[in-house]
Amino acid sequence: MAHDNDIAIIGWNISPMVRNTEHTEAQMLLEVITGAVTDAGITRKEVDFTCAGSCDYVAGQAFSFVQNIDAIGAWPPKRDSHVEMDGAWALYEAWLRLQMDDIDIAVAMGSGRSSTADPELIYSMEMDPYYLAPLGADAMSFAAIQARALLDAGKVTERQMAEVAARTRRDGKSRDYNQVTGDFDVDALLATDYVRAPLRRHDLPPITDGACAMVIARADKARELCENPIWITGFAHYSELHNPGMRDLRSSNSTTLAAKAAGIEEGPIEVAEIQSAFTHEEPLLVEALGLGPDTVINPSGGPQAANPIMATGLVRIAEAAGQIRDNGKHRTLGHSTSGPCLQQNLVCILEGGK
């Protein structure tokens, strides 16, 4: 049962996910914002607050989000904010902002053009600047070190990882926007060479350009605009220590804490869309979230099928919302993560009905 201070998702849009778009980031946002407000049955003029998630290092430009404001249509001026994080955290800020009870409608967005430069070089620049960045410590190496910790502990096998890759990329065929999908034979995948041992090519996410935008509204406005608002009933994020050498990489405490704070135990989760960019992260996150075999994981294909850095998490929440609006589900979950070896984790729980 939604209360007056509850917030609901009333529309969203996901861009085509491609290796190399000819669009600028502002152009990508222009299209997904138009798509999202159209989906919600409103215009940009009715939006009271906007919050974007993007990354200057990815864009190759200081204050790149200032140009992206062109996509909002910010005249007369709008209340606008930005997070240097995935759009899922922009949604979190927008969700908080609406709870101040003075405005009704917000748009959250995430965008990234990873083709602009080599993501492997960019990622390490965002690490601890004393101990990690000067080593060029990159996302793939961190993921591989965590994968080996899980393999050594017997918490996952290389075959399970290949099965995750095959299943998600098969399921990903259901989405026109996806980038890497198809039918893959697990034995054939396991016969390929390591790219960064113990990770093979299929264990890695694709490099993706893409964006996502989402419209949320306070309860009264949501009911007015939308027949079946999708209620955000729980939303939380927790962060752990940055340096992976100081953490137990075989678990994800921050995921467990975020899930509990978001109220995951209050009912079954039918579908979870999780930001498991690397295959071994899926069983780790599923365990940390406390999900059982009845929960369907990443039916959209997840980040294995398209990984638009800075929007991947927001796409998860959009897909979780889609399961309620378009697929008859009642309670779903969207997850996002940030930092090396799943340092920070966000959980958003969605419910349909009044």
Binding site: D70, S115, L135, G136, S141
Partner: protein
């Protein structure tokens, strides 16, 4: 793909280290690896605060190693320019003897077949050390560190450099390319929004007010004349790319009949004392193919603006036209 502009950005960061990281880096110059006590634990590399409670730690340092055990690892078959070694190596979490946390660093094992979880490694030090995490060149298999003669830094290390370089390929829109071509031909290409009727210069390809895409069908040629809405006199200070030595003006020009002001334009043949708001000016272009000695920061073939001699625009609100 309409086109791309490639640019290489350097990030030359200088960072102060503070009392804990500074002590660690200084120890590196002495070929020692140092941790910090936090309750019953020894944290390596040292942190300033207890990671569990956030309480500031006393500077109770302790040497660890020199050898340690690989807790987890990966094999980097194709190193990037940022990686510490230029040939295949392992990244590993190394728990040094006496430490309770693991240090991430390279292991120069020669081959992936030489790597295993639980293997013993020891540091190989660089001959030249400056107080940087890469003073530890890499770990090598075995128990014996590879050290050099000579002591550490004469003074405690307080600063470190971190230099990264990234090459970006920024997309240019079709509008931008046509705008650049127009400039080569001595024209300003603008865009007219069919909703708000505002006219924009340049080629970003959308109306930022109405948030709609603008394409070739919305492109218009803009007037060559305009008025100065604001200006500044710049006294040059030396920085990379700055060739001017004497104070010079930069002016904002509002082209007639448009809605956008061109910022920071070159004004030609006007002494600094005579520059003023309201002055009527006209664009001057290099003739096609002509090599001109113009400011390299100016785009296309535009050399700058010259006074037309027409009477000033005396509208007192001109200065409020910022963009």
């Amino acid at each position: 793909m309409a086109g791309t502009v490639e640019s290489t950005i350097k990030f030359p960061y200088k960072r102060s280290l503070g009392p804990v990281l500074g002590a660690f880096m200084t120890a590196l110059t002495e070929q020692r690896i140092m941790g910090i006590r936090s309750g019953g634990r020894v944290i390596v590399p040292p942190l300033e605060w207890d990671p569990d409670t956030g309480v500031e730690l006393a500077h109770d340092f302790v040497d660890v190693g020199p050898a340690g055990t690989v807790e987890s690892w990966t094999w980097v078959a194709k190193p990037t320019a940022q990686h510490p070694l230029d040939h295949p190596f392992a990244f590993a979490l190394v728990k040094l003897d006496g430490a309770d946390t693991a240090l991430m660093h390279a292991v120069d094992a020669g081959s992936i077949d030489a790597m295993s979880t639980g293997m013993r490694v020891a540091p190989r030090w660089k001959a030249e050390r400056k107080g940087h995490i890469t003073d530890l060149d890499a770990f090598v298999p075995g128990e014996t560190p590879e050290t050099h003669e000579g002591g550490g830094a004469e003074e405690p290390v307080t600063m470190m450099d971190y230099d990264a370089t990234i090459t970006y390929r920024i997309p240019t829109t079709a509008n931008q390319l046509r705008s650049d071509q127009a400039s080569e031909q001595g024209r300003f290409l603008g865009l007219k929004c069919p909703i708000c009727n505002r006219t924009y210069t340049g080629g970003r390809g959308y109306c930022p007010i109405d948030a709609i895409e603008l394409g070739e069908e919305h492109e218009v040629d803009l007037p060559q004349k305009g008025v100065i809405t604001n200006y500044t006199i710049i006294t040059p200070t030396p920085y990379p790319g700055q060739t001017a030595t004497e104070p010079f003006s930069r002016v904002h020009v509002w082209l007639d009949g448009t809605d956008v002001v061109l910022g920071y334009q070159t004004l030609l043949d006007v002494p600094n004392d005579d520059v003023h708001i309201g002055m009527r000016v006209e664009a001057v272009w290099a003739s096609e193919g002509e090599k001109v000695d113009k400011d390299p920061r100016m785009e296309g073939n535009l050399i700058g603006f010259l006074p037309t001699g027409e009477p000033d625009n005396t509208d007192p609100d001109l200065v409020n036209r910022l963009h």
